[in-house]
Symmetry: none
Subunit: 132 residues, 4 copies
C-alpha cells in the first residue's frame, strides 16, 4: 500500500501542531512506499539546513524499514554499518525518521523531521506518525 | 521579504484546487527568497517524475527572477543561453515555474508545477501565484 | 501492484532470448513501481555504456508512465519538454524503455534496453514486456 | 580475464539459493573486471536501500582487489584509510563484498550482497563466489 495525500495531510498537520506546541520551527518530510518525496513543509524560521535533513531522514527510514536512529547506532566507528551514510546518495542516521505503517501493519512510507534537538525531532515525527 | 508558511499554504491550496478543477494530478513546489525548498505537495496519481520537475521549475524561476519558460526561449540551440540547463544542479526551462511577488511587488519566492500539459502546468501555477 | 522477482525473471529471460535471436548483445534493466532498480543483466560483449542507458530508459519510462521514446519526441529543440533530460538525475528519452503493466492494466514497473540500434532496443524491450 | 554472463548467472543463482535457505531476502550485485555493473538481482521484500549497498560493496571490492570488509578495518577514525568512503562516488566498506577469482587465480570481478546481518550478507556472498 502506498501513502495517500489524505494521509500525508493528516500526518503533516499533526507534526506541525506538535512543533507549534513545543515552539520549535521544524522541517517535515514525507516519502512514499518507493522512498520518493510525497510532501514537504518547512515552517517559518526553521533552519535552512533542516530541509535536506528531514528529507534524508524520511528516505533513510523507508530504505531500511526502520527508524533512522536505529541505523545510527550501528554506523558508529567500529560498528557493523560504519559509513553506511555514503550509500543511497546520502543517509541521515540519527533520530527523527520514523516508518509509517497503516492499521494493517503495512508500510506505506516514512516521515522525517529536523529543526530541533534530537528529542524534539523525534517527538514531532512520532506525533506525525501517530496521526496515520 | 521572504515567503511565509501562511502564504505558501494559500498558494498550494489554490494550485491544488485548480488541479482538482481540471482533473489533473500535479506536483506543486514552492521555493523561498533564497531558492530553497519551502513546501512541496505531490497529489495522488501525479507522475513520480513530476516531483523533481516541479521543484526545478520553481528554483529556475527564482534563480533567474523570471518565469521558467522565459529561460527556455533563450536556451534553444543557437540561443544566447544555450545549455544553461547544465548550471545550478539542473534547470527546467519550460513553462510552469512562476515568480511569486507580494503586493509591494517584492519577490518572495517562486512556484513550480508539473504533471499535466504545459498549458495545464502554467494554469495551475498561475492560480497558485494569484493567491499570494 | 509492484513487480515480483518471478515476473522480472520472465521478462529478462524473454528479452535475452530476443537479443540472442537477433544476435545483438544487450543490457536489460527492470525498475519497480517506485522506479527503483529491481534487476539488471548485461550480456557478454554489450557495450559498457549500455548499462546506465538501459537503467535510465527504464526509470524514464516509469517516472512519466510512458515509453521513453515518447518523451524524446517532445524534448527536441523547440519542443514542449526541451531539456527535460536534466531532471531526475538524468533521463534517456529515446526508445527502448517500456512501461510494464499486468493483466489488470496496473503499472508494476518498467523495462529499459540498450546495446543495439533503437529499433533493436525497442524490439528486445517489447519482447520482455510481452512476457509479463 | 573478465567475468562472463554464464559465470555471473551461476554466481547469482548460488547466492540466491543460499539467501532462500537462510530465509533472508537479499540484493545481489556482480561487477566485472572493470568494476562496471554486470548483473543485479533484488529479491522480493529485500530492503530498498540494499540495492545501492550491494552494488557499492561489489565495486569497493573490485576497486581495491580485496573483500570490502578489509577496507573497513583501515577506514576507522585514526586508521590509515580514514574516510576513504568519500572516493569513487561512495564506497561501502563493511563485509559482504567479495573478490571473484577464476580457477587460475585471476580476478574476474566481484560480488556484493546486502539485506541481512553482516554475517548473513557474507555467507550469501561467499556462496555466490564459490560457484564461480
Amino acid at each position: 500500500m502506498n501513502i495517500t495525500s489524505a494521509q500525508s495531510d493528516r500526518i503533516i498537520a499533526a507534526a506541525k501542531a506538535k512543533a507549534i506546541e513545543i515552539a520549535i520551527p521544524m522541517s517535515i518530510a514525507i516519502v512514499d512506499e518507493g522512498a520518493n518525496l510525497k510532501a514537504f513543509y518547512r515552517m517559518d524560521d526553521a533552519m535552512l539546513g533542516s530541509t535536506d535533513i528531514a528529507i534524508k531522514k524520511a528516505k533513510t527510514s523507508r530504505l531500511f524499514n526502520i527508524n533512522s536512529g536505529e541505523i545510527g547506532k550501528q554506523s558508529q566507528p567500529g560498528g557493523d554499518l560504519y559509513s553506511i551514510e555514503h550509500s543511497n546518495d546520502g543517509l541521515i542516521t540519527f533520530v527523527g525518521g520514523i516508518l509509517l505503517k497503516n492499521h494493517q501493519g503495512e508500510t506505506v512510507g516514512a516521515i522525517g523531521v529536523s529543526g530541533g534537538s534530537l528529542k524534539q525531532d523525534e517527538e514531532v515525527a512520532a506525533a506525525g506518525a501517530a496521526a496515520l
